[in-house]
């Protein structure tokens, strides 16, 4: 930053403080990591690293989708239920195929199952988007509604029971279903590769495409954006569809990892996703947030909960600690915005 000096020491101290505040989630990540590396045995082993990364990835997918939604000034409470519903869709297709009647049944291979499951997730996103942009339902209420509907459908699909033994069938080409959750390429699990792909894609969209810029503009000033020619409704549709897409991926991965689909899977996942986004610096009032920040936020939450488990801290205390970390993150975020605004104003004043 090419600062106009307010005195050499004052300015550099100020810039250092600003830098520290900006990098706070990253610093928190390092602190959490170092702490558990020292305090929890076996924390630093490769096996543990991979297990933790797999845990984090599930939340990170949802958090990436959530970040875009929150940047537009909305919220998506339905992602946890979409995870459950999509897991059930995958499980049902794998076990039963689609019965056309007259003793005809279509069976699917892994690729087709993945595609249909993702379509279902995106479709729930479309429903959210239509409710919000066409019928003017507040995002909180619209997605609360789809939260219940999707969860109910998941329960209806199996009358509440689990689809077990999702190992697939070589005859139909669905025996590779396991690979999504359990396979690995170059020693790194497939789900991590998928996360890297989705995260890089999302970061690229946010930074280097007109759509990304429009997402920020809609959240920053919806009326101003629409007067500037931004198609506000279309932008909102996209973010809810993308959020549904991310949730569908998580549903697939969990069903594959467990080789079973349970209709209650994904309950309260939406809250973890919101927490990761907020921890990563996404502003709930819209217009501000970054994909990289969200990923770091997801890692802080994931490492915190896994590390606490390894140290044998009670789950009750884990919940309390997670809550405190989130509150602390938002308090620091407010302080940073105020401080940053002051620094910028001072530089601007020095121009005149």
């Amino acid at each position: 930053m090419s600062a106009i000096d307010t005195g050499p020491n004052g300015a550099s101290a100020q810039n250092l403080l600003l830098l520290l505040l900006k990098a706070r989630t990253f610093i928190a990540l390092i602190v959490v990591f170092v702490f558990f590396a020292a305090a929890a045995p076996n924390f630093l082993t490769t096996a543990n690293m991979i297990i933790m990364a797999k845990h984090v990835a599930l939340n990170a997918f949802l958090a990436i989708g959530m970040t875009f939604v929150i940047i537009t000034g909305g919220i998506d409470l339905s992602v946890g239920s979409i995870v459950g519903l999509c897991g059930m869709v995958a499980g049902y297709l794998l076990l039963n195929g689609v019965d056309l009647g007259y003793a005809w049944t279509i069976q699917f291979n892994t690729f087709e199952i993945g595609l249909i499951t993702i379509l279902v997730g995106v479709l729930v996103g479309v429903v959210n988007g239509v409710l919000i942009t066409r019928l003017n339902v507040a995002p909180f209420i619209a997605t609360l509604g789809t939260l219940y509907v999707a969860r109910g459908l998941a329960l209806l699909s199996s009358s509440g029971s689990t689809f077990p033994n999702l190992s697939g069938n070589a005859e139909w080409g669905s025996d590779t279903f396991r690979w999504i959750g359990a396979g690995s390429i170059l020693g790194i699990p497939v789900s991590i590769w998928m996360l890297i792909l989705v995260a890089c894609g999302a970061a690229y969209v946010a930074r280097n495409t007109p759509l990304g810029r429009h997402i920020y503009a809609v959240g920053g000033n919806e009326r101003g954006a629409s007067l500037s020619g931004v198609k506000v409704k279309r932008v909102k549709m996209y973010v809810y569809m993308f959020s549904g897409f991310c949730a569908a991926l998580v549903g697939l991965i969990i069903a594959s990892q467990l080789q079973a689909a349970h209709p209650a899977t994904g309950e309260t996942f939406e809250l973890n996703a919101i927490a990761a986004a907020v921890l990563g610096g996404t502003s709930m009032s819209g217009g501000r947030g970054r994909i990289f920040g969200t990923i770091v936020g997801a890692f802080v939450i994931g490492i915190l909960s896994d590390g606490l488990v390894m140290m044998g801290v009670s789950t009750f205390w884990q919940t309390v600690i997670k809550g405190l970390v989130i509150i602390a993150a938002v308090v620091v975020d407010q302080a940073q915005s105020r401080f940053e605004a002051r620094v910028v104003l001072r530089q601007q004043a020095a121009m005149r």
Binding site: S2, T209, G220, S226, L227, G229, Q347, Q348
Partner: protein, 505 residues
């Protein structure tokens, strides 16, 4: 005329905002038992002066005296305690609460800790009767027309039994009968010894009701005297002065017709037409100014051109081709660009960087496929910053850190980046200081010389006469006058913009 004692006076009042001096050593007296009229153009400092008296804003320098004693109001409540009531131009009401609840908001009548509904209701009914309004005081305020809501706001001020009552453009939304009622109430208050400060743009109204007149121009008092002998030319002269602002000379660059509108209409929510069969055309290189009072339908017309209102009627052509369906982004692609009146609300995304605001309408320019080239974007931003002389430390700072004039230049850059054929500007000089105004005007003129058609809206007489090649005057949604920019007389323009008495809402 009986003697009117001075109830409140400001001496050497100075108010500085970041970037502008809104009041420059102002002396102002409020005489009791009289209507003290305050007049001036937009941005002259009227509202600032009233906010100072009502305790909403503090003076940077200078003092306020009441009956010889220096007083200082740090909040609106302090001022209320001293007997000062204010009716703001913008309504501060709650549409879902009842009329009674609105009148008593913040000062509920209580009896043993709970609200005394019966008493509140009785007083509210009395106030409504006094204002000659036959309205059920239990219904939610949102049911009322805007004019009636303004009456409720006035009732609220009356209920406070203020000794000094400030009315900031109280009649802008009232029908003629409601205005007559208001004037009777004002007359009654005056006889009771209340000092009234009355702000309005409607000059005939001021002459009819005022006892004393004070004229503000650019934060200075340019005329203060009893109302006897004051006429419209005197007021206009005091408002505008002899010295012209720095307007660039007109150039002879007018070319082909670029834009034409025929019989454009826009229905108002409450019935009637906000834009009533407006037809006009703009040529390349021409600056056309639309003058009118607030609520004349000028901004609404510009919004129709931009395609913001799907219900608008009439036809429009751009370069001889019909302009197409009302869709903002399509119209922008066709070559329409709007610089909105309210920069903060409509023009800018405050938390985004200067660069991001400038390119928001024209991202396609820097995009191949889906890829947005940040490098080419930054280059173009740098060009425009230099071309328009925007003073910034870095184009990555949030746009909210800029002064009004520089923010306006960012909005203009955003519009220009879409390579428009016609530029619509709604009050382009609002909220920016004199030096920056002159720069904005020069920019407008040089854009016109490059062949752009410019249609701008203003409430500033000097601006409309100094800048326009042609002047169109609007009142109540209709075009009420057309003038040539070089020969138009200000008094004629003001005359055309007045709302005629027989046209009630």
């Amino acid at each position: 005329m009986t003697d009117h004692p001075i109830g409140l006076s400001i001496r050497d009042g100075v108010k500085v905002y970041p970037g502008t001096r809104a009041l420059k050593s102002v002396d102002f007296d409020v005489r009791m038992g009289a209507v003290n009229v305050l007049v001036g153009e937009n941005g002259a400092g009227k509202s600032t002066l009233m906010k100072v008296i009502a305790g909403v804003e503090g003076l940077t320098e200078g003092r306020i005296e009441m009956e010889g004693q220096a007083v200082s109001f740090s909040t609106k409540i302090d001022a209320e305690r001293a007997g000062i009531g204010i009716v703001f131009q913008e309504l501060n009401l709650f549409p879902d609460l009842s009329i009674t609840e609105n009148i008593f908001i913040g000062r509920e009548r209580t009896h043993l800790g709970h609200i005394d509904r019966a008493e509140q209701r009785r007083i509210a009914q009395e106030l409504m009767a006094r204002l000659e309004q036959d309205i059920d005081v239990d219904q939610p305020l949102g049911n009322l027309r805007i004019g009636q809501q303004q009456i409720v706001e006035i009732a609220k001020a009356l209920n406070e039994k203020a000794r000094i009552l400030i009315l900031d453009e109280p009649t802008s939304a009232l029908s003629q009968t409601e205005v007559d009622v208001l004037f009777r109430v004002v007359g009654e208050l005056r006889r009771q010894g209340v000092g009234i400060v009355y702000i309005s743009h409607r000059l005939e109204e001021l002459i009819r009701i005022g006892d004393y007149i004070t004229v503000l121009r650019d934060g200075e008092i340019t005329g203060a005297q009893p109302m006897q002998g004051v006429d419209i030319p005197w007021i206009v002269h005091a408002m505008i002065g002899d010295a012209s602002k720095d307007f660039p000379p007109r150039a002879d660059t007018i070319g082909e017709e670029v834009f034409r509108a025929e019989a454009v209409t826009l229905p108002r929510e409450a019935g009637g037409l906000a834009v009533d069969h407006v037809s006009l055309s703009v040529k390349a290189g021409e600056i056309v100014g639309i003058y009118g009072l607030m609520g004349a339908g000028r901004s609404e017309f510009l919004e129709c051109v931009l395609g913001l209102h799907p219900h608008a009627g009439g036809e429009m052509w751009l370069d001889g081709v019909p302009i197409g369906p009302p869709d903002v982004s399509k119209r922008i692609d066709r070559g329409v660009a709007l610089i909105p009146e309210d920069r903060k609300r409509d023009g800018l995304v405050q938390i985004m960087a200067i660069r991001e605001n400038m390119t928001l309408s024209s991202l396609r320019r820097f995009t191949r496929g889906v890829h947005l080239s940040l490098k080419r974007e930054a280059e173009t931003v740098r060009d425009f910053v230099a071309r328009l002389g925007i003073k910034i430390a870095s184009s990555e700072h949030p746009v909210s850190s800029l002064s009004g004039g520089n923010q306006q230049k960012v909005v203009i850059s955003k519009a220009l980046m879409t390579s428009p054929r016609i530029l619509l500007m709604d009050e382009p000089s609002r909220g920016i200081d004199i030096g920056a105004k002159a720069e904005v005007f020069r920019t407008m003129r040089s854009l016109a010389e490059e062949g752009l058609a410019i249609l701008f809206v203003t409430s500033d007489l000097e601006e409309v006469t100094g800048l326009s090649d042609r002047i169109i005057v609007m009142a109540r949604g209709k075009i009420t006058g057309k003038f040539d920019g070089t020969t138009a007389r200000m008094a004629d323009i003001v005359e055309a913009a007045q709302v005629k008495k027989d046209v009630a809402a």
